[in-house]
Structure formats: structure tokens, C-alpha cells
């Protein structure tokens, strides 16, 4: 029972956070956010004109009751109908989520493996490769995602470079076409993620490498590879797991806004951007709801998983 209460406490706190996220987003969207009515307005429109257009379109005036209604609709899994896309929001999400996951999930897995590989390699104390790895990771981290995207596109997709892949688009009908269209976005995302996480994982592993129990294992004649992979990595599981679960929903479900926009991938990032520009507030709120729900659920699962991995950690 003593383990049950902290978990319940954590779950209830996460539920409260979820509710406040929905209400905050709904409030912002309602009073300051994009609205379909704004597509029919010029820059210096008066409040009376806005209200007239909203009433012509059948929109309710901005109010707190409207915010509550939106949150209630979302909680009852009825996000409504998108006027811009002329389709129910649930159908839009059903189409966007697979496209996003098919790019971001492989890149997330590859990125994490790349980061772990870099971190493990640097634990071997070879001076030159370590310096090289340090230089590459800091350079890639300093490169903005946009620069990386443009450079990768020039190198892989244009005639100036290799020209192996299409410049942009998403026309998937079999695995080969998937590889054709998704390879470059996956490469960019995984490189970015790998180089971002490598220093974090490296720091956790190096801390373990200098610990007493590692020295004891080394004195007992254990090989370095065995020590790093079997003992040190297991010890670092808690920070690594918390890093991974923290970014998982953002990367996998949130998609990458820039990547999806640039490569024209019809995922959640592109849908969110189009909804923002076109004033499709219902879709935007639904996307926020999904991502926040996944983030908070994963956080709860991680808390329980960490408790199982290391029972000494206080869950509350």
C-alpha cells in the first residue's frame, strides 16, 4: 500500500496538469488564438466587424463558457468538425498520426542508439576518437536544425549532391517508396537527436565509470566492454530512461514542425501549422490534447518503471 499512494498521487497530479493544459490552451485559442473568422478580416479590423463575421459564420462569441465547452468536447472525444479541412477532426488526426509516427519513431530509435553508441565509445578513453566525437557532437548541436535540413537536402536530394532521394513530398505505396521519401527526414532527425543526447548519456556513463564499484570490477579482471555494457549502462538506466521518456511524445507524436513543413510530410506538425495559419482552432486544440496526454501518461509510466528499476528512489 505504501507504494500505491505515491503512484496515485502522481497520477492525480498529472490529471490535474492535463486539465490545466487543456484549459490554458483553450483560453489562449479562444481569446488570442487563430480563428477561421480571421481569414475574412484585414489587419486593422474593429471588434464590431469581427463579431459580425463571427455571427455570420455561426461562431459563438469569445467567453469562458466557450472554453469550458471546448475542453468538455475534447474530454468526451468529440473534437468537432474542421471548417478549413472540411472534415471531422478525428479523421484528420487518423491520417496525420501514422505519417508522423512513420518518420519520427524510426528516427527516435536510431537517434537513441546513436547517442548510446557515441557515449559508450567515448568511455574507452581513446583520446583522438573522443576529441573527434566531442567536436562532431558540438558542431551538430550548434548547427541549427534548419541548416542541417537544407544541407542534407542539397547533399542527398539535388543534382549538386548525390541526388538519390526526392527533394520533398510523401507518396507512399510500398516499403521502397517509404524508404525513398522517409530516409532523408529520418537521417536528419536521428542525427540531430543522437548528437543532442550523446553528451547527456556520456556524462551519465562517465560518472559511473569513475565510481568505486567499477574500479572493483576492473581490479577483479572484468573486461572494459563487459563493465560498460553490463554494469555501467544498467546503473545509468534511470537518467537515460527519464531523458528518453521526456522527449518521446514531442518527437514521436508532436512530429517535427520544421521537417514536416519542409519535406511536406502530412503529419501532425504540418497539420498544426496549417491549422494555425488557416485559423482551425479545433484541430489545434485536439493536437495539443493528444500530445499532452501522451506526455503525461508516459511520465506516469516512467515514474512506475523507475520505481521498479531502483526502489530506493522516492516516487513522490
Amino acid at each position: 500500500m505504501k507504494h500505491f499512494y505515491p503512484i496515485l498521487n502522481n497520477l492525480s497530479l498529472n490529471f490535474l496538469t492535463f486539465m490545466s493544459i487543456l484549459f490554458l490552451s483553450s483560453l489562449l485559442i479562444n481569446f488570442e488564438g487563430p480563428s477561421y473568422a480571421h481569414n475574412f478580416l484585414s489587419k486593422n479590423t474593429s471588434q464590431a466587424e469581427i463579431e459580425l463575421i463571427q455571427s455570420n459564420l455561426g461562431h459563438q462569441p469569445q467567453s469562458f463558457i466557450q472554453c469550458f465547452k471546448r475542453v468538455k468536447d475534447l474530454l468526451t472525444l468529440n473534437p468537432g468538425y474542421s471548417e478549413f479541412h472540411k472534415s471531422p477532426v478525428t479523421h484528420l488526426l487518423e491520417k496525420a498520426i501514422p505519417a508522423t509516427i512513420s518518420v519520427t519513431l524510426p528516427s527516435f530509435i536510431i537517434g537513441i542508439f546513436l547517442a548510446l553508441l557515441i557515449a559508450i565509445l567515448t568511455c574507452y578513453d581513446y583520446r583522438l576518437p573522443n576529441k573527434l566525437v566531442d567536436l562532431i557532437t558540438s558542431l551538430v548541436n550548434s548547427l541549427s536544425c534548419i541548416t542541417l535540413i537544407v544541407l542534407a537536402q542539397i547533399f542527398f536530394c539535388t543534382k549538386t549532391g548525390l541526388g538519390f532521394f526526392p527533394v520533398q513530398g510523401w507518396n507512399i505505396y510500398n516499403f521502397l517508396s517509404y524508404l525513398q521519401y522517409a530516409s532523408v527526414p529520418i537521417f536528419i532527425l536521428s542525427t540531430n537527436l543522437g548528437c543532442y543526447y550523446a553528451p547527456l548519456f556520456q556524462a551519465a556513463l562517465i560518472k559511473e565509470k569513475d565510481s568505486l564499484h567499477t574500479m572493483t570490477l576492473r581490479a577483479m579482471g572484468c573486461s572494459r566492454t563487459r563493465i560498460i555494457i553490463v554494469y555501467n549502462l544498467k546503473k545509468c538506466l534511470v537518467p537515460i530512461l527519464s531523458h528518453i521518456t521526456r522527449s518521446f511524445p514531442y518527437y514521436v507524436l508532436g512530429g517535427n514542425l520544421i521537417i514536416e513543413n519542409y519535406f511536406n510530410i502530412p503529419g501532425l506538425g504540418l497539420l498544426a501549422y496549417q491549422s494555425c495559419i488557416a485559423g482551425d482552432d479545433k484541430t489545434l486544440l485536439a493536437i495539443i490534447g493528444i500530445i499532452s496526454f501522451c506526455y503525461l501518461s508516459l511520465q506516469s509510466i516512467t515514474t512506475i518503471a523507475i520505481k521498479i528499476i531502483d526502489p530506493r528512489i522516492q516516487t513522490n
Binding site: I21, L24, S138, S144, L257, I258, N261, I291
Partner: protein, 271 residues
């Protein structure tokens, strides 16, 4: 982690700050880059003494545009960082020194809520306000980014506030302000600088990304907008714009990362 020698600290810091200060001041006082929005030459003019980096599609000087963009980005990031750190440190000192559990829980809850929503989605929620007044973009960035320095600083303040010297000062009747000024602030400036650096980098990256996709102040220029222009130039196989803007952005972020590493090294050494 990159571990740079702390001996590098004064030299690197002075060179970097001097470089960016001279650059910003020169642009702000109109010594350089005044012609960033003027059409002064032919389309895609090649590099020359007058146009060291050539011109863009509209015949505008790329070097002037890069310098103006860098200055604008630095100005915005500096303002956002200042206000974020101010809010974070005030709240952290208030929560850490007063030790009010409810206030602590409330601020942590608020920061967790703000952290859970991806920042770009929150900005989209506020899109209409930004469209009418582009400066409102920075209000929302400040409203979200104070959480990161706050979480770090509040832990630091709580740790420092439980030290023996501070407990002793409290017992002999020192006021909270005196404790803050005399004992806590000297121990907080390095963590604060490190956090400020992180906020600075995040703001730069976020502003660039948002400008790249088209959410920007259309009266000024920044690096994201330049990169978006550079993508258009690729169709004509012209790379000057891309190289100049990418290099400027990378150099700026790299130097800030270097600075962050120096702060961390000193912090670890002191700890």
C-alpha cells in the same frame, strides 16, 4: 561533456563579448549594415569589395543583411533572457527563502504545465495576437522559458539556504534581504549565468525556426527569415545567402555553447 580548461575563461569571454558588442553597437549606431533593405545592385551580384558576400535575389547586400539579422536576433534573445532570468530568480528567491510549501508547489505545478505543452503549439494558440503585434511573440516566449532557470535556481537556493552560515545568520536576526544580498547572491551568479546562456541559445533557435516557417515580424530581418530566402535561392544554384546565414547562426550558437561549457567547468570546480 566537453571539458574546456577554465584558464581559457577570461580570454574567450572577453573576445566573444567584445566581438558581439562591437558588432551590435556598430549596427545600432548605423556605422554598418544601414543598407540591409535597400536594393543597391543587380540580382545575385558576385562577391566584390563593395559586396563581400554578394547580393541576393532582390539585389540586396547579403553581408549587411547578415549583420542586421545577427544584431536583431541578439537583441531579442538578450531581452527574453533578461526577463526570463529576472522572473525565475525573483520567484526562486521568494520560494527558497520564505520556504512556503504552497507557493513552491504552485510554481512547480505551473512550470510543469507550461513545460508539457510543446512551445510551438503554445505559440500557435497565441497566433492571432502575434499577427496583430509581432512583439507579442516574445511575451509568450518569456512566459514559457522562465520555467527552466526557475527549476534549477530554486533547487540551488533551497540547498544554499540550508547551509550552516545562512542558518546562523537567520538565528542572529539577519533580514531576508541581507541574507539574500550577502550570502545567497554571491553563490548564485554562476548557475544564473549558465541558465541564462541556455535560455539565450533556446530563444535564438526558436526565433530562427519560427521565422523560417513564416511567423515573424515582417518589418525587420532575422536569421530564420534569411535562411528561408536562401532556400529560394537554391533553385538558382546560388549558395551565398545560405552559407552566410548558416555560418553566422552556427558561429553564434557554437560560441554560446563554448561559453556554457566554460561556466559548467567553473561551476564543477567550485562545487
Amino acid at each position: 561533456m566537453n571539458s574546456k580548461s577554465p584558464n581559457l575563461f577570461p580570454t574567450t569571454l572577453i573576445i566573444m563579448i567584445a566581438f558581439y558588442l562591437i558588432l551590435t553597437l556598430s549596427v545600432r549606431f548605423n556605422f554598418m549594415a544601414q543598407d540591409w533593405n535597400q536594393i543597391t545592385a543587380n540580382q545575385y551580384a558576385s562577391c566584390s569589395l563593395t559586396y563581400p558576400l554578394g547580393t541576393n535575389f532582390n539585389g540586396q547586400n547579403i553581408l549587411s543583411r547578415v549583420l542586421q539579422s545577427l544584431t536583431n536576433s541578439l537583441d531579442h534573445a538578450l531581452a527574453v533572457t533578461f526577463f526570463c532570468c529576472l522572473i525565475a530568480s525573483l520567484l526562486a528567491f521568494l520560494v527558497g527563502l520564505r520556504k512556503k510549501k504552497r507557493l513552491y508547489q504552485l510554481t512547480i505545478f505551473l512550470s510543469n504545465t507550461l513545460d508539457t505543452i510543446p512551445i510551438y503549439l503554445l505559440i500557435f494558440c497565441y497566433y492571432q495576437a502575434i499577427r496583430l503585434d509581432p512583439h507579442k511573440l516574445y511575451y509568450i516566449i518569456i512566459a514559457v522559458f522562465w520555467t527552466h532557470p526557475f527549476k534549477s535556481l530554486v533547487n540551488q537556493v533551497l540547498t544554499v539556504a540550508s547551509h550552516n552560515d545562512i542558518l546562523a545568520a537567520k538565528h542572529i536576526g539577519c533580514s531576508n534581504f541581507r541574507i539574500l544580498y550577502k550570502y545567497i547572491l554571491p553563490k548564485m551568479y554562476l548557475p544564473l549565468l549558465a541558465e541564462a546562456n541556455l535560455v539565450f541559445i533556446s530563444t535564438l533557435k526558436l526565433e530562427t525556426s519560427l521565422s523560417f516557417i513564416g511567423i515573424y515580424n515582417d518589418k525587420t530581418i532575422n536569421l530564420g527569415k534569411m535562411l528561408a530566402e536562401a532556400v529560394g535561392d537554391l533553385l538558382y544554384e546560388k549558395y551565398n545567402n545560405l552559407i552566410a546565414s548558416s555560418f553566422a547562426l552556427t558561429l553564434l550558437i557554437y560560441s554560446l555553447t563554448l561559453l556554457k561549457n566554460i561556466f559548467e567547468t567553473i561551476r564543477k570546480k567550485k562545487a
